[in-house]
């Protein structure tokens, strides 16, 4: 299984039936593929839609129905479109059950940096600060390292996205939960050892007893 698929499958299992979820552009978007369609997880996009669905069939797209990256999408029956103020009312008012987004760094305090590399990359925060500050659960979905360098670090060196602690980190190696005691290692990816995770992490990890393997919702043989 590709690292991306491990992350996406594992994140998918975090999303509760009947919840409202925002998936960031890129890797997080792919999480939708692995959601049980009967779970009635509703996706929203901050540009103004509740009930986002996958890309439309070729030639059936509408330029006025897009996601936050500007790409055309489709929608589920019962979707609602909203203006930007209402959209961020949902996000900031605690109506969004979960947001799934990427990170440049996460640190021991569970703080996230994902919007700027000063002097190099200044794309703007878009809705990231609102999402990380306002969503009920903030789930970081990312590769554990970038070009071999740990992304889970003692203290973020890059500017923070929010001073609010995120809820969960899901990588291709591990599931880690920021808590008052620090970053608790909850699960290992299939075939990955605790030692490998520790080696790939520069932050201190709290390890309590046996660390189980991730349940990816697939038969062991298929994995």
């Amino acid at each position: 299984m590709k690292p991306e698929e491990i992350i996406q499958r594992r994140v998918a299992r975090e999303l509760k039936p009947n919840s409202l979820v925002n998936l960031g552009i890129g890797l997080p978007t792919g999480v939708a593929r692995y959601i049980d369609e009967h779970a009635n997880v509703l996706f929203e996009s901050e540009n103004g839609i509740v009930g986002l669905a996958a890309k439309p069939p070729e030639g059936m797209d509408d330029p006025d129905l897009t996601d936050a990256g500007g790409g055309t999408v489709s929608a589920v029956p019962g979707a609602a479109t909203i203006d930007s103020a209402y959209s961020f009312g949902l996000i900031r008012g605690g109506h969004l059950d979960a947001t799934v987004l990427g990170a440049l760094e996460v640190d021991e305090n569970g703080l996230l940096a994902n919007w700027v590399v000063p002097g190099k990359m200044v794309p703007g925060m878009g809705g990231a600060m609102d999402l990380v500050t306002g969503a009920r659960r903030v789930i970081v979905a990312m590769n554990h390292t970038a070009k071999g360098a740990p992304k889970i670090v003692p203290k973020c060196t890059l500017p923070l996205t929010s001073i609010r602690r995120i809820s969960l980190i899901v990588t291709d190696l591990a599931v880690i939960e920021p808590t008052d005691e620090g970053l608790v290692l909850r699960e290992r990816a299939p075939g990955v050892t605790v030692e490998q995770i520790v080696a790939a992490t520069s932050a201190k990890l709290v390890i309590k007893g046996d660390v189980p393997e991730m349940d990816l919702g697939v038969a062991a043989a298929a994995a």
Partner: protein, 217 residues
């Protein structure tokens, strides 16, 4: 009946140095023809308030490429490298604002509020130099109102009296900006007789709209 203009005549209303709000999200729901005309009109020193600058040479990206913009207040410029280059070169002064805060600041401008208090951005570099307010021992960041000389917006349908209706994700910032500018110019997809848009579907009452852009010839 609302005054109606060709895009090139609407562009003439906008002086150099004007402060513009421009609707749209990555170009979706932007007033395409009006932005075309404006980019071609050789304006200088515009301040643009918008969610983003679309992609290079597209919609607001046209104004960037034309060198018409000297100041930008936006939430995201990541998909337009030309904007980033102009910012780094110092040709455009860019103020980056969290998207939810940006839309509330525009709404506050249009609604006559002195600002709103938010947690978004608090304690980050996006809050540097900004005022905070303590309420019952809790700290909030003050988001101050934004207003503009012109709002250049797009709608799906307009009626002759300027009532507007928006469609799908082309709605975005348009109805919010329609209240926050001195002069509101709207480019609708189609224009209909009065009475053809249900009062409950009208999202922007015509009374706040100043000009409609005529349909393409």
């Amino acid at each position: 009946m609302k005054p109606h203009l060709k895009p090139e005549d609407a562009a003439k209303l906008v002086p150099d140095g004007a402060r513009l709000m421009i609707g749209g999200f990555m170009g979706v729901g932007s007033p395409h023809r009006l932005l075309d005309a404006l980019a071609q009109s050789g304006k200088r020193n515009l301040t643009v308030i918008a969610n983003d600058t679309a992609r290079p040479g597209v919609d607001i990206g046209k104004l960037i490429r034309a060198g018409a913009v000297s100041k930008l207040i936006a939430s995201h410029i990541g998909l337009n490298p030309e904007t980033q280059k102009a910012m780094i070169a110092g040709d455009i002064e860019v103020e980056l604002v969290p998207q939810g805060t940006l839309v509330e600041r525009i709404r506050a401008g249009g609604y006559g509020l002195g600002g709103v208090l938010t947690k978004t951005g608090l304690g980050t570099i996006a809050a540097e130099g900004q005022q905070t307010v303590e309420i019952d021992g809790e700290t909030w960041l003050l988001a101050k109102p934004l207003k503009a000389d012109f709002a250049l917006i797009a709608a799906d349908q307009a009626d002759y009296s300027g009532n507007l209706q928006y469609q799908l994700t082309a709605t975005n910032f348009n109805p919010i900006m329609a209240l926050a500018a001195q002069t509101v110019i709207c480019e609708p997809r189609e224009i209909l007789p009065v009475g053809m848009i249900s009062p409950d579907v009208v999202k922007t009452p015509g009374v706040v709209v100043d000009y409609l852009i005529e349909r393409a010839a």
